[in-house]
């Protein structure tokens, strides 16, 4: 079962294509990190999913319902926290909670109290007078307290100090999962924040999903490889296999590249067959490094198309 399914979703603003023929499935119970540079289309995609924007073509299904038919009964199961979100600024946090409580049959007052305490929120000050971090925490509190099945978070960590970010993540993990599995979709340009949380990652660039796979498989598959040996000097760099990215030869005997399809069992022996007597080392990369390599590759390919 998928919590979110997008099929050939497209949306443009004037001449800019923000989401371009995008197909995506997020299984129920998973934590999906939507990564990409600013302007990649992350916010537009999330808004299309929540019917805050209409697609030009294609469709999105959320918790089994066509996004264009989402009604208040569906929205009672979906939480949404976005950077710069509109909140009723004149209300205090306590008033905000009083306002939200009757809207949601699944409201969990015990959880609301626990989170309020954990977040250390001043409940008696108007939201417009609290800091940015407090404001985000208030938005998160009012959304987590009704125990949403799907939590949509758009750049929730941007501009938050490390302590507030940690509170925020702890809050997400505080959501109970005993009654039903919870699904999270979190967009971020700050990869480090989500590295330990994400089951699956998607890299969005210019409205297209370049990569969508499990974070563990991605880290297994993409590795930085170094080959040291005499045979290396004879290789023409332009003739390198296509799954090698950023191929460099910093010295006559040293070849470095990022392998796009590394396999623990076979890649090393294949390289040794290519370069007899050489030594091969492969090291894992952080999601941040992987992301940069893919983004650079995309930029080079685009440059080639334009030329």
């Amino acid at each position: 079962m998928n919590a979110i399914e997008c099929n050939n979703l497209c949306r443009s603003f004037g001449r800019v294509t923000a989401v371009n023929d995008l197909t995506l499935a997020v299984p129920v119970g998973s934590f999906f990190a939507l990564l990409g540079p600013n302007g990649a289309g992350k916010t537009t995609l999330l808004k299309l999913i929540l019917n805050l924007l209409r697609p030009d073509s294609g469709s999105a299904h959320v918790l089994g319902c066509d996004s264009m038919r989402l009604k208040s009964k569906n929205f009672r199961r979906i939480g949404y926290v976005a950077d710069g979100q509109d909140l009723p600024d004149w209300m205090t946090v306590a008033q905000l909670l009083d306002y939200c409580r009757p809207l949601y049959p699944t409201w969990d007052e015990e959880l609301a109290r626990r989170l309020s305490k954990m977040f250390d929120l001043p409940t008696d000050r108007p939201i417009k007078k609290v800091s940015r971090g407090m404001r985000m925490k208030a938005a998160l509190l009012s959304n987590l307290s009704f125990r949403p099945e799907l939590m949509v978070l758009d750049e929730p960590f941007s501009g938050l100090d490390p302590l507030v970010r940690d509170d925020f993540i702890q809050g997400l993990l505080e959501l109970p999962d005993d009654d039903c599995p919870r699904t999270f979709i979190v967009s971020s340009h700050d990869i480090d924040e989500v590295e330990r949380l994400a089951d699956d990652v998607g890299f969005l660039s210019e409205g297209r999903l370049l990569i969508h796979e499990s974070a563990d498989l991605l880290r297994d598959r993409i590795r930085r490889v170094e080959v040291v040996g005499k045979g290396v000097a004879a290789l023409a760099l332009e003739a390198a296999p296509k799954e090698w990215m950023e191929v460099k030869r910093p010295a006559e005997n040293v070849l470095q590249f990022v392998h796009d399809a590394f396999a623990r069992d076979t890649t090393e022996s294949k390289l040794l067959a290519m370069f007899p007597g050489a030594s091969v080392t492969a090291r894992t990369m952080s999601l941040r490094e992987i992301f940069l390599v893919i983004a650079r590759k995309q930029r080079i390919e685009k440059g080639r198309e334009a030329a």
Binding site: D166, L173, R196, L197, R219, S286
Partner: protein
């Protein structure tokens, strides 16, 4: 507070890092056989990791016999592996071979590597 520490390094699978941290805590005597192991939820919240990952850690450690699940009581650290010295040594064959291969690749001789192993061995306190 968890009875063990994990210093996360980016790039390596999170569950492998946690599994290693648990084994190390047992090897250094921070976790004793029979003591309680945190529940999946606690593990996830304290380490700020995905609950699915925390679940994977507990199943892997249970599968390997590092943890024992007692229904109704919870999860505890298993007693040390039983069996003859030979049998227990055999469990390390792969790691030992890997160590020797790497040592040879780096041009280290037998004494150097045995000494290095001894140094690490002595870093850990004695567990009775």
């Amino acid at each position: 507070m968890l009875p063990f520490e994990v210093l996360f390094r980016p790039g390596e699978p999170v569950y492998e890092q946690v599994i290693y941290a648990v084994k190390k805590a047992i090897a250094t005597g921070k976790l004793h056989p029979g003591s309680r192991f945190p529940a999946v939820r606690t593990l996830s919240q304290e380490l700020r990791i995905n609950p699915n990952t925390a679940h994977k850690v507990v199943s892997a450690l249970t599968g390997e016999g590092v943890l024992l699940v007692h229904p109704g009581i919870g999860t505890v650290i298993a007693p040390p592996v039983a069996g003859s010295v030979e049998d227990r040594t055999a469990l390390l064959e792969d790691e030992l071979e890997r160590l020797v291969v790497e040592a040879r690749r780096l041009g280290l001789d037998e004494d150097k590597i045995v000494n290095a192993v001894r140094k690490h061995w002595r870093k850990f306190p004695k567990i009775s």
